[in-house]
């Protein structure tokens, strides 16, 4: 049984259905990427998994437990951390407060975990009392990752972490993601930069117009000429 099982999900906003019976599987310890053109429903799928958007149909199992349409709070408690694409830190709060919030939600020892997380992201240590809103794009991304990891999640869900970053920052973000995955954290990631993410992903799903189009290992998708033509065209640069 996979760590996360998304079975035949239908979802959308109001009357408009965006996802049409979408299914994915994420194995324990793997790095799974969802790629596809703009408007294919990638981010919508993540929102349904983390409980921000209602699934009209279908089932989501996490560690074999049904979490379909659970409140986001319950999903966080079950061990899933979500990093949205934009606005993923509390800009009016300090870095320390940003990192503390998950410990207040999940009631774990903040000081202990803070030390561990600062070893992973030492850049944050000197800025503990600065407001997150003053950070650069890359630093914000680092803080968002740290905030998601501090609760020791078993699954980390990332929505286009490279969006809006410079190519150099994006590269280092992918390195960070790979190293987080190597520490044993399962990762489900939506990414525009398909080439980059497929080269490090164990498995990739191609979504288009809210439907499953293909799924294969990262490497196979990367070398599949159809994929390049159909879905990766705009993001190869």
């Amino acid at each position: 049984m996979a760590l996360l099982n998304v079975n035949n999900i239908n979802a959308g906003y109001g009357e408009t259905e965006i996802l049409h019976t979408v299914s994915i599987e994420v194995d324990q310890g793997s790095l799974v990427a969802i790629i596809g053109p703009n408007g294919s429903g990638k981010s919508t799928l993540l929102k349904v998994i983390v409980g921000l958007l209602e699934a009209k149909n279908g089932k989501i199992l996490f560690e074999s437990r049904d979490i379909t349409n659970s409140p986001p709070r319950k999903i966080v408690e079950s061990g899933i951390s979500y990093v949205p694409q934009a606005d993923n830190v509390f800009t009016s709060m300090t870095i320390k407060e940003n990192l503390e919030i998950p410990s207040l939600v999940l009631k774990f020892n903040f000081k202990e975990r803070l030390e561990e997380i600062l070893e992973l992201f030492p850049i944050l240590e000197t800025k503990m009392n600065t407001k997150a809103g003053t950070l650069s794009g890359g630093q914000r991304q680092t803080l968002a990752f740290a905030k998601a990891l501090i609760s020791k999640p078993s699954l980390m869900i990332l929505d286009e972490p490279s969006a809006g970053l410079s190519p150099i920052m994006a590269d280092s973000t992918f390195e960070t993601i790979e190293s987080i995955n190597k520490t044993g954290v399962t990762i489900l990631i939506v990414e525009q930069n398909a080439k980059k993410i497929l080269s490090i992903a164990d498995r990739g799903y191609v979504l288009a117009t809210g439907e499953n189009k293909l799924d294969d290992t990262g490497l196979n998708l990367l070398t599949n000429p159809d994929i390049g033509m159909l879905y990766l065209g705009g993001s190869n640069s």
Binding site: L52, P72, R73, V76, D87, F90, T91, P102, V105
Partner: protein
């Protein structure tokens, strides 16, 4: 002109006004400060509700009226009924019962606003009503509360039991009613309490997080329903305390008492920056002092116009307010 200069402008403005009053009528400054602290109790609640629920609560003033009347009833009916009357303490015009009534009123008013939220605002939120619609609903709640007050307590001015006391006479012909010192102190302590709550308490931090980014708060696992209840409890209890202090300092309460200060409260919130509790405090002090100071030169009837003028000037110069962040 850059933003820093505008901030200094307001600080200098306040100092200049204060200096002018000190030369003209120093006691106006003291009265203005008390008025500012009372406004701040209303304004902090208003700004917190706006920060979390994104609507301007027009019922805030009438909630203060309701708080004043609840205190009055606790003192004159319940406490008097059980023989807890107590004469005025020291230099003050009132006794222990009024002080003891304040926490009870805060509790009762909090319960009332939480019930109002569950009955009215929560339903509107779950239907994804626009903030404009919710604001208008709060105007309805304001009129409803006032109607209830008029029905229960009548239209005549009501009074807390009080004894006449000498004013403090300070040099330069400064006359301070001793009440103002203790009432001001209570208001300051409550404001400080809210500040500490928001800074250090778990739910205070959740409130700030939710005000800053509601979606991220949800996906981080914050129980926003509990945050909303806390917001109403703080807003309601500050309004109740503010209403009681206002009624005691004015020596009377009327069904219109709170409605009349709704405009200065909104002005304070806008001046300080919507959603910023510290801004609401500073804004309220500026508005309170300016309004009182104006009476040295112009007819007191025009006091609200002073608040209005400052509010409009702020909206034109710096719409995000003194403590507001740029979008």
């Amino acid at each position: 002109m850059n933003i820093k200069n505008i901030d200094y402008f307001w600080v200098i403005f306040l100092i200049a006004i204060s200096a002018l009053i000190i030369f003209a009528q120093p006691s106006l400054l003291i009265n203005g400060l008390l008025l500012g602290f009372i406004y701040s109790l209303g304004a902090i609640g208003l700004t917190l509700v706006f920060g979390i629920l994104r609507f301007g609560n027009f019922a805030q003033g009438d909630l203060m009226t309701l708080g004043g009347y609840i205190s009055l009833t606790i003192v004159t009916v319940i406490f008097a009924g059980i023989g807890f009357t107590g004469s005025a303490i020291g230099p003050f015009t009132f006794g222990l019962p009024i002080i003891a009534a304040i926490p009870l009123t805060m509790l009762l008013t909090s319960i009332i606003v939480v019930v109002l939220d569950q009955l009215i605002y929560k339903r509107l939120r779950s239907r994804q009503a626009s903030t404009m619609l919710i604001s208008i609903a709060s105007l309805g709640v304001a009129i409803m509360i006032r109607g209830l007050v008029q029905f229960l307590w009548g239209n005549e001015p009501a009074h807390f039991p009080r004894e006449s006391k000498q004013f403090y006479m300070l040099p330069l012909d400064i006359r301070i009613p001793p009440d103002n010192i203790i009432l001001g102190l209570v208001a300051v302590l409550m404001t400080l309490g809210v500040y500490l709550f928001l800074k250090y308490n778990k739910y205070g931090k959740f409130m700030r997080a939710t005000a800053n980014n509601p979606d991220l708060s949800l996906s981080t696992g914050i129980n926003t329903s509990v945050v909303i209840i806390w917001t109403w409890v703080i807003s309601g209890s500050l309004a109740a305390a503010g209403g009681t202090i206002l009624a005691v300092s004015q020596a009377q309460i009327l069904p219109m008492t709170g409605w009349k200060i709704l405009l200065p409260i909104f002005a304070s919130v806008i001046l300080g920056g919507i959603g910023k509790p510290i801004g609401a405090l500073v804004g309220a002090i500026i508005i309170g002092v300016s309004m009182e100071a104006s009476t040295a030169w112009i007819n007191p009837t025009y006091k609200p116009a002073v608040a209005f003028t400052i509010m409009i000037a702020m909206l034109l110069v710096k719409p995000n307010g003194l403590f507001g962040e740029k979008d």
